[in-house]
């Protein structure tokens, strides 16, 4: 038995054990104390020194050693001086069930390190979502963590971490493993073009990728789809809350839309003047549309600066993407070549398409058998930030508030969760918290966490790369995690062999 200490005092907010000499215990480590009818799982949230020798004697002894090179030592040093570990009881497990502890473990009980078999009760649910392996301090246990994926995704997920703590790796691991499942469609808005794996390993290398991964880019590699939208598919409400517009400009936009329907953008660009709109408003809108859509006109001829928007291609892009998601596929939008505002506009257009489709399906009673859809958005405060939402709601805000009813959820990634309003943070029912140094960001996370992690602040600050704390409404405890390295998936799994392609439609010699 790997005894680390004995319970010596404390209360429900912190059980104190005296650490056995020669044993090292780390912050965040999981420990176990056995009872007759089950066992407690406890987590280390603080460590301090303890001694039976008065403070002034200890100081004097240290001084003698430092200043006078004395051979002085304490009698029964290991008995007199020791380490105290403060633990929080997080779960009580008995053969039939596990639940939050409602009593304290027996006084003076022995406490030991957790082993894999102590966590076997954590089974794999139906429609699983994989997060990583359980971590006890910095030790990784061979226990994989799954939660009910559909519930987790529709009730929104927040991923929070400082730069370099492994957010991208985590998203790759989550999305890669989801490709084994059919219960969810995933829209990944990818501003760094890092998930598909254009030049290195990525989601394209999953054995199911050919049927499940759809990649859109303004510069697609062979076989991928071009990210191009026909202007006729852009509606005035796509701009709301994302593009900064004055009242007069919004009125002008709706005037043209109500009158010209699908051709409203082109007609604004082509309009020399309009009886109901001032020339200044028209000119400013033309300039804004030129910036956003890359559209301009010369002698009545429309031209486009780039390939993202068109008046002849991409009429069905939105429908295609939503169809793919409705069929449980993962759609990656490479927005790396787009400016910030355009990237958000594109994300918003697709998000609106998804939300509308699923809301309609829900009203018709057809949503039950559909996969849920989750939208992964990086730097989430750009669309969910207080300052952005104060100017007017946008589709991401709507999904954060109402998406759950229609099986649409967000995976919001951010370094700065404190910028997201509290009511939206509270709606993110699963949080994956990675290393976060700034205390105000930690506070925002702790205050909105589904579990009481008020004692975890120091733990969160000290999380290393790839370490995380998972808190969720769908988990009974806040789970310390180690996220595997995405690249390791490929070294462990044998690469799959593609079937030989049957060549047809040419005359082979």
């Amino acid at each position: 038995m790997d005894i680390v200490g004995k319970i010596v005092s404390g209360d429900f907010s912190g059980i104190i054990i005296r650490q056995k000499t020669g044993i090292d215990v780390e912050l965040g480590e999981l420990l176990v104390t056995k009872e007759k009818n089950g066992y407690f799982i406890l987590q280390v949230f603080d460590i301090s020194y303890g001694s039976q020798i008065p403070e002034r004697i200890r100081s004097l002894a240290a001084g003698l050693k430092l200043e006078e090179e004395s051979n002085l030592s304490f009698l029964d040093n290991e008995l007199s001086n020791f380490i105290l570990i403060i633990l929080k009881p997080i779960l009580f497990v008995n053969p039939n069930r596990y639940h939050l502890p409602k009593k304290l473990p027996k006084f003076f009980s022995e406490v030991e390190r957790i082993k894999e078999e102590d966590l076997r009760f954590l089974d794999r649910p139906k429609k699983p979502l994989y997060f990583g392996k359980i971590r006890s301090g910095s030790r990784v246990l061979e226990i994989e963590v799954f939660l009910k994926g559909e519930e987790v995704l529709t009730h929104h997920v927040l991923i929070s971490a400082s730069t370099g703590k492994g957010k991208s790796n985590l998203v790759k691991v989550l999305t890669y493993n989801l490709l084994n499942e059919n219960y969810a469609g995933l829209l990944v808005i990818d501003p760094h073009d890092e998930y598909y794996g254009r030049t290195k390993k990525g989601l394209k290398d999953h054995p199911n990728a050919i049927n499940k991964v759809v990649y859109y880019s303004t510069n697609p590699p062979p076989g991928a789809s071009t990210l191009v939208l026909d202007l006729k598919t852009i509606k005035p409400w796509h701009l709301t809350g994302i593009v900064s517009l004055t009242e007069a400009q919004i009125e002008c936009i709706y005037l043209f839309y109500n009158r010209d329907k699908d051709n409203w953008i082109e007609n604004i660009i082509l309009a020399e003047k309009d009886d109901k709109v001032s020339v200044v408003t028209l000119d400013v809108l033309k300039r804004k549309f030129n910036n956003i859509f890359g559209i301009s006109s010369e002698n009545g001829v429309i031209s486009f600066r780039n390939n993202l928007f068109s008046n002849s291609s991409g009429i069905s892009t939105i429908k295609n993407v939503v169809d793919c998601l409705e069929n449980g596929k993962t759609v990656i939008l490479d927005t790396s070549k787009l400016g910030g505002e355009v990237e958000l506009l594109i994300g918003g257009i697709f998000a609106e398409g998804i939300f509308s489709r699923y809301r309609d399906l829900s009203f018709k009673g057809h949503l039950q058998n559909k996969p849920c859809i989750s939208i992964i958005i990086e730097e989430a405060p750009r669309v969910l930030g207080k300052d952005v939402l104060d100017k007017g709601t946008n589709i991401f805000g709507t999904i954060a508030r109402e998406g759950r009813k229609f099986k649409v959820g967000l995976v919001a990634i951010t370094q700065l969760p404190s910028l997201i309003p509290k009511e939206i943070l509270a709606n993110m029912n699963t949080k994956i918290i990675m290393g976060t140094e700034m205390s105000n960001e930690r506070s925002a996370l702790i205050e909105s966490s589904p579990q009481d992690i008020s004692e975890e602040s120091r733990n969160i600050a000290s999380l290393d790369i790839g370490e995380a704390l998972l808190t969720s409404t769908f988990s009974k405890l806040a789970v310390p995690l180690k996220i595997p390295l995405f690249e390791d998936i490929f070294t462990k799994n044998k690469s799959f062999v593609k079937d030989k392609t049957t060549i047809r439609g040419v005359d082979l010699e």
């Binding site: 510069n219 062979p222 076989g223 390939n307 002849s312 291609s313 009429i315 039950q368 439609g505 040419v506």
Partner: protein
């Protein structure tokens, strides 16, 4: 040009108009003294057309040969045959046309060899279209780089719907992304989509779908009223593309609103609507709509046809899809894709399906099972193997869901 579908219509008159349209297109091409003609698939409606249709096509192609105008083709989803035995091959052997799909395979990559037009020195390459868009797999191993690096002017012929360029009404049609085509060609001659369109997307300039030379079904007649081809000229400053519509017989659409009309008065309505119309040599499509008094079968369509033919119409077609009678209630369906329609019907009738201890949700069960049973026989698959395979998959599925026993109890076989 593309999608001629010679021999495609069931009605003799329309089939004949289709052939005449082709003949006229060839005559115009000769008049315009073109260097060569491209046909991007589906010259014929099948890989083995009737002798009559073949003879007429051969005659016009021979005229081109005499005039020194080359014809470059690929097969389309209709006139392609997996066995390779197609009339196009026969015509090629006879020197009437040239297929541009020659290729070789090297280390898993497909190298297109193409052909050079002797007059213009333009290189021509292509990949045929195959039913079910099976040609997509061929594109996935195509060595695009090899093609892109080839110098000189190049044209690519294809017979596939392109995802980014599909018209809105065909958005569920099987398609492939444009990125599967090689970049940087001077012209992309497209077929398969029967609606005309000219496109530019990134490195793909002059992507042209001429549409069907003549409509292939009543919906196309209603939408396009006719077809045509492109005359493309390279004067050194870029390609000038002119669409040449061909009208052998104008399509006239008569929209007749029968709301509240009794069936005995329908003929009179037609007479009034066409009284002053010149229908000579035209294809007349009568599009009825509205709630009528009486039964649909009481309308004397034969008499109406005769009347319109006497006024000069070469063919009369009718569209009665929007007539409503008291006998028939409209089935309310919000979505009209095949899959959605099926799903709505399944949902409507799901309570009639009772399978004891069924662990799966009924709609999902029916859809999955229907999918299993709807697999078509693969190319080259023996019929016996196909049947065994379907049976095996079905039994597997039922067994996995503990339904096999249940079926055994309720059915004798």
């Amino acid at each position: 040009m593309a999608d001629l579908h010679l021999g495609g219509w069931r009605e003799d008159t329309l089939r004949e108009i289709g052939i005449k349209t082709f003949e006229k297109a060839i005559d115009i091409s000769i008049q315009e003294n073109v260097d060569f003609i491209l046909i991007s698939g589906d010259l014929f409606d099948s890989s083995n057309p009737t002798i009559d249709v073949m003879a007429k096509a051969a005659k016009k192609l021979y005229e081109l040969k005499v005039k020194g105008i080359s014809v470059y083709v690929i097969e389309g989803s209709h006139d392609f045959s997996p066995t390779g035995r197609t009339i196009l091959k026969v015509f090629e052997e006879a020197g009437l046309l040239k297929r541009v799909t020659s290729a070789e395979e090297s280390e898993g990559r497909l190298l297109l060899k193409g052909t050079t037009d002797e007059k213009t020195k333009i290189r021509l390459y292509g990949i045929s279209g195959i039913r079910g868009s099976l040609e997509k797999a061929t594109y996935s191993v195509l060595d695009r780089e090899d093609l892109e690096q080839k110098e000189g002017q190049k044209i690519f012929l294809f017979h596939s719907a392109i995802e980014e360029l599909r018209p809105n009404n065909l958005y569920q049609m099987q398609s492939m992304p444009i990125s599967l085509l090689p970049k940087g060609f001077m012209y992309y001659a497209g077929g398969h989509i029967h609606e005309r369109g000219e496109f530019e997307l990134g490195d793909y300039k002059n992507v042209v779908f001429p549409g069907a030379l003549f409509p292939n079904n009543i919906d196309e007649l209603l939408s396009f009223k006719g077809g045509g081809f492109y005359l493309v000229e390279d004067d050194g400053s870029g390609l000038k593309k002119s669409y040449i519509p061909i009208k052998i017989a104008p399509v006239i659409i008569l929209e007749i609103d029968l709301e509240g009309t009794h069936t005995i008065n329908v003929e009179e309505k037609i007479r009034l609507a066409t009284d002053k119309k010149d229908l000579k040599n035209s294809i007349v499509i009568v599009k009825f709509k509205g709630n009528i008094e009486g039964n649909l079968s009481d309308i004397n369509f034969k008499k109406i046809n005769l009347y319109l033919e006497n006024k000069g119409a070469v063919l009369v077609k009718r569209d009665t899809r929007e007539i409503k009678t008291k006998q028939y209630k409209e089935i309310k369906n919000s979505s009209f894709t095949k899959e959605k329609l099926e799903e709505e019907v399944i949902i409507r009738h799901k309570d009639q399906i009772k399978i004891k201890e069924c662990q799966i949700e009924t709609v999902s069960f029916v859809k999955t099972f229907m999918n299993l049973l709807s697999r078509e026989k693969k190319e080259g698959e023996k019929k016996d193997d196909y049947i065994k395979d379907i049976l095996r998959e079905s039994i597997d599925y039922l067994s996995k869901n503990n339904l096999l026993e249940d079926l055994n109890e309720t059915t004798s076989t």
